[in-house]
């Protein structure tokens, strides 16, 4: 080996990246060549120096100070001054800027400091809302005598709420993706029911603040208002749909007041215009309280007297008494996932590199199954989704980050649960690796089933109305969900007809292996499967 070759390989050698034979060659050369040995020593010395420097600097912990500064800067006048100074719309000359700084020192905080455009205020509001960990607010329904004043905290996917009547605590409520617990203090009764994360959406439009989109809101003509010495900006979200409930119905819109100092909402109002009238009336008031301190974890733990009788109305999750849950082979257990998204919970995701992908989702609202509408509006349905969908209000599309063809094979329900399987086939890569991420994009009807349970009325209202549909998507990494066995549980679905929908896909897989001259791969694939899938493959392989 020449010295130049050896020195080129030194990094690879020190990092242990060389093939064994090459490593041995370099070893031999270093034993024999003092020049290259000195070079290797110098490399090691520098490497150790870099590592030691890294270790010394790793003693510094910046995260606490950084996060504290970020929290402080949210309300910092200095940042707003910098934004105002940089904003081209202000056109402040140097001298005027100096005068402005002096004025600000004198009168801060005050209205003169914020001359931001409506768009800039909305952008900062979006930013402030994204950094908020927990929401704390009061909610009222004006005009409904029996309605309680509700004080609510939400953090992540959890809610704690209390109902007060004339200042007295009468009910408490805890919700998370797994269950809802209600404690009625007047009757001293506890009720536990199935999770309903869609509740978050129902609670005064708070979900729209969690996913705040500045472009949806419009400033009102008199968009700055002063109240009790503080200035606010007022925005409106027109056309939030039709509301029906509490004896009222009509077209709705939302109005939002934003504090000009903190860029956080202080009030959200829902307004309603009944049919054939021109007057808007308030049907919802939300006042944000924004706790200064960290919201306590304990707030979200149900707490009620031990003596209170508990009525557990949950219908699913555990196997029936006396029944063992069917055993699950480890090869088909993808990394557990319970990920709550708008309108649904993604419970499981299985990706088999041969080209089969299955999602198990639990939609949040009790929407009926049925035929989907044709959505003509290209904005609501840009990819022209058609075909059988389940459930009615959910239309989903799977997209990989790379251009991979994906076809839906079918969908079906999970026994005894309000959940379903969506089964897809995708074109695998030659080396059967799976793209790093996939996106699930879906249209969701924003209307729940009417309280009288009338399916026909629901269908009439929603099926033909593209404005009732909202577009969502989320992306997940695929790495943790790759399995080598198609899950057997799908065969228990009463209406998925798993054997029927998988058979053609499995046929294509077997044919592909045979066309590649690799029939042994088809056998290996079969041997890794559970009994139901194996039975199908045996049929196919016998036929061939």
């Amino acid at each position: 080996m020449k010295c130049s070759e050896c020195q080129e390989e030194l990094i690879g050698y020190l990092e242990g990246l060389l093939e064994r034979d090459r490593q041995a060659e370099v070893d031999r050369h270093l034993r024999e060549c003092s020049v290259c040995r000195a070079e290797a020593d110098a490399h090691v010395h520098l490497r150790d120096r870099l590592i030691d420097d890294g270790k010394a600097l790793a003693q510094v912990q910046l995260a606490p100070q950084v996060m504290a500064r970020i929290a402080e800067e949210q309300a910092s006048w200095r940042r707003r001054l910098a934004m105002v100074m940089r904003s081209p719309k202000t056109r402040i000359g140097l001298a005027a800027a100096a005068a402005l700084v002096v004025a600000l020192f004198v009168i801060l905080p005050g209205p003169q400091m914020s001359r931001l455009s409506a768009d800039e205020v909305l952008d900062r509001t979006a930013q402030a809302l994204r950094s908020v960990k927990a929401y704390h607010y009061e909610m009222r329904t004006p005009g409904v005598p029996s309605a309680l004043l509700r004080e609510i905290w939400t953090q992540g996917d959890r809610i704690y709420a209390r109902g007060l009547r004339e200042g007295q605590l009468v009910a408490e409520f805890w919700a998370d993706p797994t269950r809802i617990v209600r404690y009625d203090r007047e009757t001293n009764k506890v009720t536990i029911s199935d999770a309903h994360p869609g509740l978050l959406r129902a609670m005064g439009g708070i979900a729209m603040l969690r996913n705040f989109k500045p472009e949806d809101w419009q400033p009102l003509p008199d968009s700055r208002a002063k109240h009790e010495g503080r200035w606010y900006r007022v925005f409106e979200l027109p056309g939030t749909g039709t509301f029906r409930g509490m004896g009222r119905s009509g077209e709705t819109k939302m109005r939002l007041w934003v504090d000009e100092q903190k860029y956080l909402p202080v009030r959200l109002e829902g307004q309603l215009r009944p049919p054939e009238t021109s007057e808007w009336e308030r049907f919802l008031e939300v006042d944000f309280l924004w706790d200064e301190e960290e919201v306590r974890e304990a707030l979200f733990e149900p707490s009620y007297p031990e003596t209170a009788p508990v009525d557990d109305q949950r219908q699913f999750l555990e196997p029936e008494a006396g029944q063992e849950a069917p055993p699950v082979a480890p090869e088909e257990v993808a990394t557990p996932i319970v990920s709550v998204k708008p309108g649904l919970t993604l419970e499981k995701l299985w990706i088999h590199p041969v080209g089969v992908l299955i999602l198990r989702i639990a939609p949040h609202d009790r929407l009926p199954f049925g035929e989907p509408p044709e959505l003509e509006d290209p904005e609501k349905n840009p990819w022209g989704l058609k075909g059988e969908e389940i459930p009615l209000a959910l239309k989903g599309q799977v997209i990989f980050e790379e251009p991979v063809e994906v076809r839906r094979l079918g969908a079906g329900g999970v026994p005894k649960r309000w959940a379903g399987y969506l089964v897809y086939e995708f074109e695998p890569k030659a080396d059967e690796t799976v793209p790093d991420t996939l996106t699930f994009r879906y249209l969701l009807a924003r209307r729940s089933l009417p309280s009288d349970g009338s399916l026909q009325a629901y269908k009439d209202a929603v099926l033909k109305d593209p404005s009732a549909w909202h577009l969502y998507e989320f992306t997940v990494p695929t790495e943790d969900y790759i399995v080598n066995r198609i899950p057997e549980e799908i065969y228990a679905s009463p209406n998925l007809y798993a054997e029927k929908i998988l058979f053609p896909a499995l046929k294509r897989i077997v044919e592909r292996y045979q066309a590649q001259g690799q029939p042994e791969k088809a056998v290996a694939f079969m041997e890794a499967q559970g009994p139901n899938t194996r039975r199908l493959l045996e049929k196919l392989l016998e036929t061939e």
């Binding site: 520098l46 870099l50 890294g54 600097l57 995260a63 996060m67 500064r69 800067e73």
Partner: protein, 178 residues
């Protein structure tokens, strides 16, 4: 299980600001080394690193390529360092040199190394910081930068050569009689 930079960014923008703390934790050592090299002071490097992270947080929604957080962060750090150096220059104009103003206690632990590192061109500096200050293996560096492992080792090799040359020159300067 730790997430990728992209996943932390998405979590942060999805209403979980604490996810940004994980990004700080992951990249602070590399950032400190770079800024110490540029600014010649551990204390100024810490201040500048804080400022860099805070600016990055408020600009996070404008980062289009979420897999490129690391180089983007260093772009911000470069600007922060330049602002720091301009401020330092204004003070230097009062007839005090950096060497005179900076006491031994203020110099970072291996200032010559950090200074040499901060002067490397970005492709070489990047691989060194990711490998030795963020603690990634060569394979992980390759994945982060979406380049082959062979390119990582080549760049490290070149970086080593340049660092050693810089450090040799620094040693020669130190040895010169004053």
């Amino acid at each position: 299980m730790s997430l990728s930079d992209r996943e932390y960014i998405e979590r942060c923008l999805d209403g979980h600001p604490e996810a940004f703390g994980e990004l700080v934790q992951r990249h602070q050592t590399a950032l400190l080394s770079f800024l110490a090299g540029r600014l010649g002071s551990r204390e100024r490097a810490e201040d500048a690193a804080q400022e860099t992270f805070v600016r990055a947080y408020f600009a996070l929604d404008r980062l289009k390529k979420r897999d490129s957080f690391f180089p983007w962060l260093f772009g911000i750090a470069s600007r922060v360092a330049k602002e720091g150096q301009r401020a330092e220059q204004r003070q230097r104009d009062l007839a005090q040199t950096v060497a005179e103003r900076t006491s031994k206690h203020d110099l970072p632990d291996d200032y010559p190394l950090q200074q040499a590192l901060s002067r490397l061109a970005e492709p070489y500096r990047e691989v060194v910081l990711l490998r030795y200050y963020t603690g990634l293996s060569c394979a992980e560096v390759a994945e982060q930068l979406t380049i082959p492992v062979g390119t990582v080792t080549k760049r490290l090799s070149r970086a080593y050569a340049m660092l050693r040359e810089s450090l040799r020159q620094c040693d020669r300067r130190d040895d010169r009689p004053r």
